[in-house]
């Protein structure tokens, strides 16, 4: 483990710097503020030089004398950030920085955090279970499964070309597992255990998983004309959940995300008329099946 020319940990070389000797700014998931100290003393704990400036920057100067117990979630996060930066770290480690915030605060803080990270331009590692956060805040996104990095790249690349089913699911895809066989015309056919048959423009054979992204799926009441390049799955509407101004609909094994307007027009309702989910073979990714990963 090294930062530039500084070695922090090297088992072979016998280097093991103590935690307090590593200039890291660490933001804990629960913020871990010192409950017995005021906001100002919390921020000053790592270093007194930039306390005033940091408190101004994070808009917490007016809270200088307040104890952490009396702060809101967003305020605590700002104090924790100011405190971590007061140490003048060379690296930032953020552990689920948005997880502890309510929905409303989250989106505001996400924007602020993005601006902050851009401004600081410190090497930063951010851990999150939310792909959207990672995509918004990070230059590069890495998918970590059971301690191993499955794929690192730009967020768009992880979605367009996931390395394995877990990464695809992380990026928001629904997985359909089954047995694949090439059709010979550039398409591969996948048959699931329930007898659903779909095609993908990716090559593949044997045990595979097809990844379908909800925004690539459209809904209709009737089956479209048969077309090998187009998939159509008919199924009951198992759930219909509003997400922002869109509706997330589960039709059989497939999840679709459609606008509220389309939903109204079609009359989509949970437990109502069965719908047909259509998606192109070209947007269906085919991935070799991996052992099922326990859901995080």
């Amino acid at each position: 483990m090294a930062l530039g020319a500084e070695r922090w940990f090297d088992r072979g070389g016998g280097v093991d710097r103590r935690p307090e000797e590593r200039p890291v700014g660490y933001l804990f998931q629960g913020y871990a503020l010192f409950p017995h100290l005021s906001v100002a003393d919390n921020v000053a704990f790592g270093g007194r030089r930039r306390v005033g400036e940091l408190m101004e920057r994070f808009r917490i100067s007016h809270l200088a004398r307040v104890r952490p117990a009396e702060l809101s979630g967003g305020e605590r996060q700002r104090v924790a950030l100011a405190r971590a930066l007061a140490r003048e770290p060379r690296v930032l480690l953020l552990d689920e920085p948005l997880a502890a915030l309510d929905a409303e605060t989250r989106s505001i803080v996400q924007t602020e955090l993005a601006d902050l990270l851009a401004e600081l331009s410190l090497p930063t590692i951010l851990v999150t279970h939310d792909f959207e956060d990672a995509a918004t805040l990070g230059d590069r996104v890495g998918a970590l499964v059971e301690g191993r990095v499955r794929q690192i790249g730009r967020a768009a690349d992880l979605v367009a070309a996931p390395a394995d089913p877990f990464v695809a699911r992380l990026g928001g895809a629904t997985l359909l597992r089954g047995v694949a066989r090439p059709l010979g015309n550039g398409l591969t056919e996948l048959t699931t255990a329930d007898g659903v048959v779909i095609t993908s423009s990716d090559p593949g054979a044997g045990e595979c998983a097809a990844a379908v992204y909800p925004w690539d799926v459209s809904l209709s009441r009737e089956l479209p004309a048969s077309d090998s390049r187009q998939n159509a799955v008919r199924g009951p509407v198992l759930s219909a959940v509003p997400v922002g101004n869109r509706l997330r609909v589960r039709v059989g094994p497939v999840v679709a995300e459609i606008t509220a307007a389309s939903a109204d027009r079609l009359g989509v309702a949970e437990g109502g008329e069965p719908m047909v989910a259509s998606f192109k073979a070209a947007t269906t990714r085919l991935l070799p099946a991996t052992a099922p990963v326990h859901d995080a």
Partner: protein, 278 residues
Amino acid sequence: MRRGFELLLAVAASVTIAFLVLPLVALFLRVSPAELLGQLGSAAAVEALLVSLKTSAIAHVVILLVGTPAAYFLAMRRFPGRDAAIALIELPLVLPPAVAGIGLLAAFGRRGLLGEELTVLGISLPFTQAAVILAIIFVASPFYVRQAIASFEALDPEVLEAARTLGASSRRVFARVALPMAWAGLSVGSALAWARGLGEFGATIMFAGSLQGVTQTLPLAIYAELDRDFTTALALGGFLVVISVALLLLVRLLPGWTSSTSISLFRFARSSSGSTSA
């Protein structure tokens, strides 16, 4: 039938309270406040008071200075034999004080384990004020250390780790973060240990004897006055009760004064509720 059970519970509670309160009530009924204060002026009483205060204070300082780092170490580190170590520390809690006294003699007496080494250094412990202090430390320290271990264990590890990431050494974390955060629990343990130390009788009388003005603490003075002057004994007893009640109030009120609850969302650290159980 339900009513009958409820009634039984109420009766049990009443009997318990009555039995525990009776001796105290009797004490103050036999002696009027005026007599109480009058008797306290006697030489025996004043000397006993001074011995008690001096020895318990010194003992307490030692308990805090040595016990706090010890408790921190035991609370924070995991090592083989840790459970045994903690059990050994708790042993004096269940040991009969007379046994403690004999044990101290066996260890520090002239013919004891360390007897020869001490004699060479010119130190003779039995029947000295130092012996009183040792006896108090022996019986009272588990009260403090046990509570201190529980208080340190209840601290949110994330907050301590945060201090390390902010550049604090282990020593700074202990002094600036762990100690202040555990303060309420430590204070409770301290009050209980001091109360126990003040009331120590068995170990003291066996190891230090009951020499007026030297090793005769308040409890020992009460015992001595029993045959001589019952009223003085009552007065001394009443006085000790007052001190004990004051300490108890202190223990009950303290958690309300301090507010060392962790605000970390995922590990809720309990602030001390004044109990000695870990």
